[in-house]
C-alpha cells in the first residue's frame, strides 16, 4: 500500500526525525492559510501515488501566500498518470547546502532489510546505483540483532565528514529503521535528506510503502489508505478481494492464480492480442468474486471481450460457472465471453454453463485464440 508524502512525514516526525514543517491542504484557500502561517517561501506538492510528479508540474515553489494559493489551485486540478490530485502538501521551503539519500528496503537476495545511503541525494537512487555505484553504501540488517548503533555510525560517517552530522545521520537512520519496522513497511526513504547552511539535517521529501500483509495487524497504518487517490476499478477489486491491475489492451482476463494469470496475458499477446488487465480471483471459488470480476472488467470501456481461464485445483470450476451465470443473468454483458474451464468438477461446470446458453472450452490455447479473434480486425489474427 502506498501512503502519501505527508503521511510518511508524520510517521517520521513521530519517531523523532527532523522533518521540514508542512501541512496538508485539500483546497487552495487552505493552502494559502498554511503559507501565511509559515510566513516565508513554501513548496506546494501534489500528494499522489505516482512517481515523477515534479516533472509533471506537481511541485511548485511559492514565495507568497497568494502564490501558494494559485499553485494549489492549479495542482489540485491536475491528473498525474491517471490519478487525480486530491491534496497538496504545503511545506516550508528549506535552505539547502547539500542533499543526501537515505532509505530502507526489503532485499530479496540477502533476505533482509537493507539500509542504503548516498551523499548523492535528490535524484533517483537507481540512477546513482547505475552511474556511480561507489557513491552508495548498503547495509543488510541482521534481523536477529536489529540495526546496531555502530552500523548506523558507519553509514553516517560515509555520508558526512563532520562528526556531529555523522552522528545526527546515524540517529536519523535508526529512527527511520524503527519507523520502517513499526509501520510494517517494505520501503521507507528520505530523498533528499538536506543539510542546511547552519549544518542541521532535515527530511525534505519522504516516501513509504507498506506491506499489504501487515495491514491486518496494524489498524492505525491501514487507516492511512486514501482510496480517493487510487483508480476506482482497483478500489472495487480490492474490496472484492481480487488482485487487479488495469492495462492498455482490450482483452479482459479473469484467471485463478497469479502465475496462470500472467501466462494468460502473455498468451493473449502471443496470439496478437493485447490484455486489458491482470486479474486473479485467487484460490477460492466464491461466486461473488466472479460477479465482481465481471463487473469491474466490464466497466472498462476499452474491453471488447472477457476471457475466463480457470484451472480447477482448490478452485471448483462449477462454483465459477455458477458465478458467471449469475452475473450474466443480473446484467447482460455488452461484450462477448470466452470461457475456459478445466479441472475440479469440470463436467458439472460445463453443464451449468450450457444450461444457461453459454459454452465452455477446456483448452487454454484455443480459448485465448478465440478471444483474440473476437477483437481482431478481420484477417489480422495470427
Amino acid at each position: 500500500m502506498n501512503i502519501h508524502e505527508y503521511q510518511a512525514k508524520e510517521i517520521l516526525r513521530r519517531f523523532g526525525i527532523p522533518v521540514a514543517p508542512g501541512d496538508v491542504a485539500r483546497t487552495a484557500v487552505e493552502a494559502e492559510g498554511i503559507a501565511a502561517r509559515y510566513g516565508g517561501a513554501v513548496v506546494v506538492k501534489a500528494q499522489v501515488h505516482a512517481g515523477g510528479r515534479g516533472k509533471a508540474g506537481g511541485v511548485t515553489l511559492a514565495r507568497t501566500p497568494a502564490e501558494a494559493r494559485a499553485a494549489a489551485e492549479r495542482i489540485l486540478g491536475m491528473t498525474i498518470k491517471g490519478l487525480p490530485v486530491g491534496a497538496v502538501l504545503v511545506a516550508r521551503a528549506a535552505d539547502i547546502a547539500s542533499e543526501a539519500y537515505v532509505g530502507i528496503i526489503v532485499d530479496r537476495a540477502s533476505k533482509r532489510a537493507v539500509v542504503m545511503v548516498s551523499p548523492a541525494g535528490g535524484i533517483d537512487i537507481e540512477e546513482v546505483a547505475a552511474t556511480t555505484p561507489d557513491r552508495i553504501r548498503r547495509l543488510p540488517v541482521d534481523p536477529r540483532y536489529g540495526f546496531l548503533p555502530f552500523e548506523a555510525l558507519q553509514l553516517g560517517t560515509f555520508l558526512y565528514r563532520d562528526a556531529g552530522q555523522a552522528r545526527a545521520a546515524a540517529r536519523i537512520l535508526r529512527q527511520l529503521y524503527d519507523a520502517f519496522l513499526d509501520s510494517g513497511a517494505s520501503l521507507a526513504e528520505i530523498n533528499p535528506l538536506v543539510t542546511t547552511p547552519a549544518g542541521e539535517l532535515l527530511a525534505v521529501d519522504a516516501k513509504m510503502v507498506i506491506d499489504d500483509n501487515e495491514l491486518e495487524r496494524r489498524p492505525a497504518v491501514a487507516a492511512l489508505r486514501d482510496a480517493s487517490a487510487e483508480a476506482p476499478s482497483e478500489v472495487a477489486a480490492r474490496e472484492a478481494n481480487l488482485t487487479f491491475i488495469r492495462l492498455e489492451g482490450n482483452v479482459g482476463c479473469v484467471v485463478n492464480g497469479a502465475g496462470l494469470a500472467m501466462a494468460t496475458m502473455d498468451l493473449v499477446k502471443y496470439y496478437g492480442g493485447e490484455p486489458a488487465n491482470f486479474l486473479d480471483i485467487g484460490g477460492s471459488s466464491n461466486p461473488d468474486k466472479v460477479i465482481a470480476a465481471i463487473r469491474i472488467i466490464s466497466s472498462d470501456p476499452k474491453v471488447r471481450v472477457i476471457l475466463f481461464n480457470i484451472f480447477g485445483g482448490i478452485t471448483r470450476t462449477d462454483d465459477v460457472a455458477n458465478g458467471i451465470v449469475t452475473a450474466v443473468r443480473h446484467a447482460p454483458l455488452r461484450v462477448p465471453l470466452v470461457i475456459r474451464l478445466t479441472g475440479t468438477n469440470e463436467e458439472a461446470a460445463v453443464r451449468i454453463l450450457e444450461n444457461a446458453g453459454l459454452s465452455a472450452m477446456t483448452d487454454m490455447d484455443a480459448a485465448v485464440q478465440r478471444a483474440v479473434a473476437l477483437v481482431a480486425p478481420a484477417g489480422s489474427a495470427r
Binding site: 526489503v106 499489504d212 491486518e216 488482485t243 492464480g257 494469470a261 501466462a263 485445483g313
Partner: protein
C-alpha cells in the same frame, strides 16, 4: 526416487482443523500421504476424521505432536499472521521439512524465520506455495493429485495454477513426474530454484527438469548459473509475465518488476544463455522436454 518427500514421509498438519487445513488433510490422506498428526492449540487430545477411516490425533503444540508421532515433515495451513510462529515452532521441534502453504505472510516476519529455520538445519518450502507432490507416493500441500502421473520429470515452479497447467500437459503427453515442487511466489521464501535443481540432479529417477519462473527478483538467473555450472540433466524453462508492467505487483508479492533483473526478458535471456530452452507457451514445454529425453 523422489525429492524431499516419498512414500515413507510422516506428515504433521499445523492448522488441521481450519477450513483449508481440514479440506486438504482429507485430500492428502485420500492420495495416500501418511498424515500422522495434527496441531490446533486448544484441541489437543481430540482426533480429526480424515475420511477413509483415518482418525488423526490432534495436539496443542508441535512439541507434543513430535514426541507422540515422530513426523518427518509438516505442512502449515495456519492464518498468515500466525504462520511465521508456526514455521519457527516446527523448526524448534526438530522437524526437518517444513512446507508453508499460507499466503499473505508479512515479509518482515520472513526475514526472521529464514535464519531461525536455517540455524536449526530445517528445509522450509514456501510460504505462499502449493507444496509438493511425488506422484503415486505422497503429496504435501494442495497440488491436485489427479493431474499428476509418476514418471521421470522433475518440476519446480514459483506459481500454483500455472504449475497445474504445465503438469496437466506433461501428464497427458505421457511425461510423468518424480516430484513437482512449488517454491512459492513471495519475495522471501525458504527454498530456491537452485536447491530444487540440486535435489533433482542427484535423484537417480529424474531424467529432465522443468523450471517455471516468473517476473521479479533474480532466482531464475541464479538457477541459470547453477544449471550451466553444475547440472548434467536437461532443463526446460518457462517464464510468466512477459506482458507485465514494471512497478506493479502481479498478484504474488514477489512478482514485481523492479530493476532490469526482474523482467521476463532478462530471465529468458539468462536461461537461454545457460543452454536452457524456454517455452513460449505452457504447452510448448512438452515438446521441449520430449526432445531432450
Amino acid at each position: 526416487m523422489s525429492v524431499f518427500i516419498d512414500g515413507e514421509t510422516r506428515l504433521l498438519v499445523q492448522g488441521i482443523t481450519g477450513r483449508d487445513g481440514s479440506f486438504h488433510t482429507r485430500q492428502m490422506v485420500a492420495y495416500g500421504t501418511r498424515v500422522v498428526g495434527g496441531v490446533t492449540p486448544g484441541k489437543g487430545g481430540q482426533t480429526f476424521d480424515a475420511g477413509e477411516g483415518a482418525r488423526i490425533p490432534i495436539f496443542d503444540t508441535v512439541e507434543e505432536a513430535v514426541l507422540a508421532t515422530a513426523p518427518t515433515a509438516t505442512v502449515i495451513y495456519v492464518p498468515p499472521l500466525f504462520a511465521a510462529d508456526a514455521m519457527m515452532e516446527a523448526a524448534a521441534a526438530g522437524i526437518p521439512l517444513i512446507v508453508a502453504i499460507t499466503e499473505g505472510v508479512p515479509v518482515l516476519d520472513m526475514t526472521r524465520v529464514d535464519p531461525y529455520v536455517r540455524e536449526r538445519g530445517a528445509r522450509l518450502i514456501g510460504p505462499n506455495c502449493p507444496g509438493l507432490i511425488a506422484p503415486g507416493r505422497s503429496k504435501v500441500g494442495i497440488i491436485p493429485g489427479s493431474i499428476c502421473a509418476p514418471g521421470p520429470i522433475g518440476l519446480v515452479s514459483r506459481s500454483g495454477t500455472l504449475t497445474y497447467e504445465v503438469v496437466h500437459h506433461l501428464s497427458r503427453a505421457g511425461l510423468g513426474q518424480t516430484t513437482c515442487v512449488g517454491i512459492g511466489g513471495d519475495p522471501i521464501n525458504g527454498t530456491a530454484f537452485v536447491d530444487c535443481l540440486a535435489a533433482f540432479e542427484s535423484d537417480p529417477e529424474t531424467r529432465a527438469v522443468v523450471l517455471i519462473g516468473e517476473i521479479g527478483g533474480s532466482d531464475e538467473q541464479d538457477a541459470a548459473r547453477y544449471v550451466a555450472d553444475r547440472m548434467t540433466k536437461p532443463v526446460v524453462g518457462f517464464i510468466a509475465g512477459r506482458t507485465a508492467p514494471p512497478g506493479r505487483r502481479m498478484g504474488h508479492a514477489g512478482a514485481i518488476i523492479s530493476g532490469a533483473a526482474g523482467t521476463a526478458t532478462d530471465k529468458v535471456a539468462a536461461l537461454q544463455a545457460a543452454g536452457i530452452p524456454v517455452a513460449d507457451r505452457p504447452i510448448d514445454v512438452v515438446d521441449l522436454v520430449r526432445a531432450r529425453l
